[in-house]
Amino acid sequence: MYPDELRESALRVAASRERRLKEKHPRLAPEEKDALLRGFHPDFREDTQRPVTVGPNSGDRMPHELVDLLEARSRLDLDAVSLDRPALEADVLIIGGGGAGAAAALTAQAEGARVLLVTKLRLGDANTMMAQGGIQAAISPVDSPATHYLDVMGGGGYTNDPALVRALVSDAPAVIAWLEELGCMFSKQPDGTLMAIHGGGTSRKRMHFARDYTGAEIMRTLRDEVLNREVPVVEFCPALELLLDGHGRCGGAVLQNFETGSLLVARARTVILATGGFGRLHVSGFPTTNHYGATADGLVMAYRAGAELCFLDATQFHPTGVAYPEQLLGQLVTEKVRGVGAQLVNGEGEQFVFPLETRDAVSAAVIRECGLPGKGVATPTGQRGIWLDSPMIESIHGPGTVRRELPAMFRQYERFGIDMSAEPILIYPTLHYQNGGIRMDPSGNCPRVPGLYIAGEAAGGIHGRNRLMGNSLLDILVFGRRAGRHAAASALPAPGRLTLEHVRRHNREVEKAGKGGRLAPMLLPDYVGREPSAS
């Protein structure tokens, strides 16, 4: 049940449903989409970004919140740590315990490497766990890797690294087969055919899913396998800095026990950075769907080690974050809700955008609509939003569909007294994904830092300026496995004596630039004492 402010407008949505069932909103023409993005997407606003003044990307524009961290001094007291006697040693050190890190660990160990996985929170605490929608792979007879390739490039504005996209779409079927082998419970037809639906920007139905817990199902399966294979895992132990030898080759990291504060040195032949993205930086003040640990730590460490970043001026806002109730503000309403038929509707009960445009376009359309008099809807706390007509799913597919197909979503709203199968839900864009990241090649190798590999959301270039739904769960596994394989097989000579010289150099550079008032990596966001709307 909605408060009075919202009820009237929700009733208008219900009243127009019958008419809208027969109505198909036209897709945006390419030039309309362009104008929409330029006019309303936060990436194009002047006040949200600035050029970074230190390091390899000096002069490149990125969100203020990220630049603040790249221009920060090291959190590590460089004189307090002795690098001579490493506490931990391995062939492959994996930093990060989400889907990419777990996939890398399993793959590297299967190649015969001694693996060590360290992670800031728990194994499995990652955005992977929260991905509800699905995972893309071109496996139907009417689909092909090349068709998938075209969708990815078009979604990314033709800026993506073609070699990375080719790797992504070519490995996709094998990744799904690997998960099937591991016992992942994909939703299937009785004959074993994987169920498939459209996602925003797909030209074929290639979104595969495990009910609406796709990411959780993948993550809990990989986590279980990591434990079964007895991969050594150290939890609550974030990395503070990478370690390089005199030739700039990566050979370990300085870690910190989160509970005791003690520092640990880990030495390895190769290092895989799978630390995730930057959602918890709350870029431009947006709420976020992201996990508590998504604070860009890997970007900060790799940047100091000399890695190049790319596409970090392109932030993905998921068009459908929760706008009401307040307790769920910013949390994800999966794209699958639109995939199975719900329309986006303004306060007057009218459609204003085709529901399955790419995420950047739908977000911009929602922001535009909320700025038009009478079209947006305001909650009692002043948060703006528009309606996602979830009861429409039941009109199309029959009663009980919402509860059956979207149990996670249904449960979340039910906890706060909203029956989304009978009442529409109020949404507004939320910070969802870091489109860019650390530049790498198709083996996951960071070209400027030998011995360092990247996987998962920390990587950049795969999605260009905009990722499509269902390609993130895919990329973490494709590049997690690639990084694991290549890091295990690296032919580089063993690293020499490890140093933190690059961090000293960075500290001097930020000081010279008159920066460095902050410390980074951030490790965790600070919500102490904040008002409810802050997170």
């Binding site: 390419p30 929260m130 075209l150 078009g154 033709y158 992942c184 996990h291 996670a408 449960r411 965790l524």
Partner: protein, 228 residues
């Protein structure tokens, strides 16, 4: 007329009282009170099971449970988090396992000791019928246990309250993996496509595609046919 100020409630975190605005989740109430959490917080969206919490309200002897990120704090709530639970986890090689009752009991010898008290079901923040899926596991109905437990987030609250020392969430995970690996119908079209990719069947098309510039790609993209 002046706007009414926020209403406040008192919550007792680890026995200490804090005044916080009404309407916050337990997680936000703790942060409002000054806790900067490292444990007992995760996805903040009800998916990861990091923030299992035990609580009691005044004048009620019963201990209740919930996820801190999904449960609204109430006045006079006495709470503690359970961010880690030292439950056992069987190690196994999935490929070599038979999807049978014998496998479940060998890896979880405590399974037949379930008392049928239903405390697990009452403790599940996901509203799952935990006792029912455990009953199916005890009958060797792997598919049923997998199906009914599918929405489990492995927070461990069921195990923490179980008088028979069951680890329901690990039994459920084993059942799901056994089902997915050995009982679910295999995706033949997937295996075929993996073979086609390995045989290089799509290489020529991808070679051509990766060679196109943005303008040529855009031409193809704008003219795509979309599967109905």
């Amino acid at each position: 007329m002046t706007q009414p100020g926020p209403e406040f409630i008192v919550v007792h975190i680890l026995g200490k009282a804090y005044r916080v605005p009404a309407g916050l989740t337990i997680l936000r109430a703790m942060e409002h009170a000054g806790y900067r959490l490292v444990r007992g917080v995760g996805c903040r969206g009800g998916f990861c099971g990091a923030c299992g919490t035990l609580y009691r309200t005044r004048n009620d002897y019963r201990i209740k449970v919930g996820l801190a990120c999904q449960t609204v704090a109430e006045h006079d709530m006495y709470l503690t988090q359970l961010p880690f639970y030292p439950a056992s986890k069987a190690r196994y090689d999935l490929d070599g396992l038979a999807p049978s009752l014998a496998t479940l009991v060998r890896l979880h010898p405590e399974l037949p000791r379930c008392l049928g008290c239903n405390t697990c079901t009452r403790s599940c923040p996901q509203g799952l019928d935990v006792m029912d899926y455990m009953a199916r596991a005890m009958r060797g109905d792997i598919a049923g246990a997998a199906d009914l437990s599918f929405d489990c987030i492995m927070c461990g609250l069921c195990a923490s309250r179980c008088p028979a020392e069951q680890t329901q969430y690990n039994v459920a995970l084993l059942a799901r993996r056994l089902y997915g690996r050995h009982l679910a119908p295999k995706a033949d079209h997937l295996a075929r496509r993996v073979g086609e990719v390995a045989a290089g069947q799509f290489d020529a098309e991808l070679d051509r595609m990766t060679g196109l510039d943005a303008k040529a790609l855009k031409g193809l993209y704008d003219a795509r046919d979309i599967e109905a």
